[in-house]
């Protein structure tokens, strides 16, 4: 079996293989992008994605803070603080002609 496999060994390669390699190396060197810019781009995209995820999360998550604010406002109105506050202004300011 091994002898048969030895017959399968490649004896020659494309004579232009080295030229192809050189061309590819030259192309890469010509269009060489600095590594730091790629890293910056990667981190930038990751940050953007995180920001988007956070934004979507904050839209759909329960708004505890605003609920707390609503409760405090309702309490304020219930306790007639609004009327007291309105009393401190001149009637011309509150009801202009």
């Amino acid at each position: 079996m091994i002898d048969l496999l030895k017959k399968d060994i490649v004896g020659e390669v494309n004579p232009y293989l080295f030229q192809k390699i050189q061309t590819k190396i030259n192309d890469r060197q010509r269009g060489n992008i600095p590594a730091w810019s790629v890293v910056t781009l990667k981190y930038g995209l990751a940050a953007l994605a995180l920001l988007m995820v956070f934004n979507v999360y904050s839209i759909f998550s329960p708004k505890e803070d605003s609920q707390k604010q609503d409760i405090a406002y309702n309490k304020f109105v219930e306790d007639n603080y609004f009327d007291v506050l309105a009393g401190t202004f001149n009637s011309e300011v509150l009801f202009p002609e």
Partner: protein, 178 residues
């Protein structure tokens, strides 16, 4: 010129040294890749990638191993990655896995019977465990001594002996069964 000097010259862009190095090892690397992928065109594409990698990372060669060992290690890793990507591609595109095993009809030096047997051998080799496959290919296609194979694969010589022995046994068994 020792291995570190060669690597330095390649890193400095010395085309003559790089070409000499390429000429010295091109057939070895082609055969290693061919043994793994069983397709000469794909093997030559892989050889290009391997030598481009050598050119671009020659500055990182520290001389801890032989330059040839380093080259083989890069070639083995590139080929394994290529096979992995191909496997995923074939899975999604629903391509027959045995398609690549067909031996090139340009090989007029082989009889039809030999071609058929080799095609079958390719299939058997593909079904071997990864380490056995790499070891047997480095042993048969590259004709590397077991000590060098051990260095490339990062195993002991005795482990390589076992891998090659088991690979040969498996190949024999499966060829007899079919």
């Amino acid at each position: 010129m020792d291995d570190i000097q060669i690597a330095q010259e390649i890193a400095n862009g010395n085309q003559i040294v790089f070409e000499k190095f390429f000429e010295e090892y091109k057939l070895k690397v082609v055969n290693l890749c061919y043994g793994m992928v069983h397709n000469k065109d794909e093997a030559e594409d892989l050889v290009q990638d391997v030598f481009i990698e050598i050119f671009s990372s020659a500055k990182n060669f520290q001389g801890k191993s032989k330059l040839s060992t380093w080259l083989y290690r890069i070639a083995v890793n590139k080929t394994i990655n290529h096979l992995r990507k191909n496997k995923i591609k074939k899975f999604f595109l629903n391509i027959d896995d045995n398609e690549n095993c067909l031996i090139n009809e340009e090989r007029i030096d082989l009889t039809i019977e030999e071609r058929e047997k080799i095609t079958h051998l390719h299939k058997v080799i593909d079904n071997l465990p990864s380490k056995q496959k790499t070891a047997i290919i480095l042993f048969v296609y590259d004709e590397l001594p077991q000590k060098d194979i051990a260095e490339v694969m990062g195993c002991s010589v005795s482990a390589i002996e076992v891998l090659i022995f088991r690979a040969k046994q498996s190949i024999k068994k499966r060829m007899v069964n079919n």
